[in-house]
């Protein structure tokens, strides 16, 4: 039970990174390796706000806003001139990933920093005679709430319909009189904000250190591919699979934890090359 809870907490953090990662790739064909930096900066900026104010809610909101602003700036300043040029995009986002990590080292140093859990989220709950750490439950609930909220936006609002249509055929969206650039910026900002949110709520669970972003990048990539590039609910399902496999694999055969995830990836790709929920022919 504890392993499942641990796996699901991890899954929600993977989901928060992977959701934006996947939508950005689906919509703009940009494999944004710097996406993990938003998670990293969410953790550090959240910690900075929390140490200054002592208010966890403020830290969560502030870190998410930092992520959104970073996302908008990265899209506008560095990726907009490179749309359509995949090689340059990968080089640019890889470069940004390194720069953002180095900036963190410059500002906060290289040591692991602790992010104290807020008073209200410490301790355990006893349900049916079993102990459940409150903070893990909080991460799982936060992840599910975000999933439902974004799912409703994508399925019930015109903005959401536009994003889903853009994932299929952005050229035709423009031919309906919609400025796809604005949609790109919006999704990039939202995706970065979700990753930063993942960073700040994951920080008390994972610790805060400069390599945190890079460490989250590989599982997030696996989640995105398993779920299907461009599929929002795919990234949720993929995250649950990888979170649980990471948790159980890491406990029983720790030296093979990553290998199990890669094997899962290979199996999914062999059975369904577009990923579990990927769109056939989508870009």
């Amino acid at each position: 039970m504890s392993l499942s809870l641990n796996g699901l907490s991890l899954a929600m953090l993977y989901f928060l990174i992977a959701a934006g990662f996947s939508l950005i790739f689906g919509l703009m064909s940009v494999l944004n390796l710097a996406h993990a930096s938003f998670f990293l900066w969410g953790a550090y900026s959240g910690l900075a706000i929390f140490t200054t104010t002592g208010n966890f809610t403020l830290a969560v909101i502030g870190a998410t806003i930092v992520g959104v602003i970073m996302g908008l700036l990265v899209e506008y300043l560095t990726l907009r001139p490179l749309y359509g040029n995949h090689l340059f995009q990968i080089l640019m986002t890889l470069g940004l990933l390194l720069v953002f990590e180095e900036l963190v080292k410059l500002i906060w140093g290289t040591t692991i920093l602790g992010f104290p859990r807020p008073e209200i989220l410490t301790g355990s709950l006893v349900i049916l005679g079993r102990y459940f750490p409150v903070y893990r439950l909080f991460i799982i609930i936060a992840g599910i709430v975000v999933f439902i909220a974004v799912y409703l936006i994508l399925n019930r609002t015109k903005i959401g319909i536009t994003v889903r249509a853009g994932v299929e055929d952005e050229g035709m969206v423009q031919a309906l009189g919609i400025d796809i650039r604005k949609v790109f910026s919006g999704v990039f900002g939202l995706g970065a904000g979700l990753a930063a949110l993942g960073g700040v709520i994951g920080a008390p669970f994972l610790g805060v250190y400069p390599e945190l972003g890079f460490e989250m990048l590989v599982p997030a990539l696996i989640v995105v591919i398993i779920g299907g590039l461009g599929s929002f609910h795919g990234s949720f399902v993929g995250a649950v699979i990888i979170g649980l496999s990471q948790s159980f694999g890491g406990y029983f055969i720790p030296e093979f934890a990553l290998a199990i995830n890669v094997a899962l990836l290979a199996i999914v790709l062999l059975i369904k090359p577009t990923g579990l929920f990927g769109i056939e022919g989508g870009h």
Partner: protein, 236 residues
Amino acid sequence: MKNLLELENVHTYIGQYHILQGISMEVPEGAVTVILGRNGAGKTTTLETILGIKPPSKGTVRFKGEDIHKLSLHNIVKKGIGYVPEDKRLFGTLTVEENLRLAERNKQDFHRERRELIWDLFPDLKRAWKRPASTLSGGQQQMLSIARAMINDNSIMLIDEPSMGLAPKLVQEVMSAVEQMKGLTTVLMVEQNLKVAESVADRCYILDNGMIVYSGDIKELVKDEELQNNYLGVTV
């Protein structure tokens, strides 16, 4: 009749290929104008040039008296142009309703009225309202593609080969929709099938190798077998 759309000495390249080689065209308001020609003559490129998908390297595209060839695609469309592409390009994962909702850009009252009109014209779409577009038949998809352009108060509709790949009965249905549009808007349509074109068109142009080789009344063309043989490769 006033011209709604005018092309003047338009040249368009795709990569290194010179596709449109100085075409000039006038589309009168309220009429159905058809562009005919063989495969590869530049018909689709003409529509894409008007829309800014393939902007011209030289020449002018004027819509309602305003030069639009330097504007971006979405800004050109917002001037009041509906587009029905050759391959339909529906959003397969979106339902019929969502495909139409995405296209809506006028006032809600207007769309409510237009939905009624679309349901009258294409009852199939009403029945499939909540179904993903990918589950529709080829004919239904063409209807949805036309309906998507009709949902707005567009001044002109650019329709690319609506009869392509459809059974004769469906072609008739689609053409009767185009006929109905006549009263609502101006139509510029690309078509390869002269018989289909003749049933709705007032005026026509023939494109050959990126140049206009005939312009005039479609009835004159129907009578002129030599012209048909030379540029269309078929006779009616």
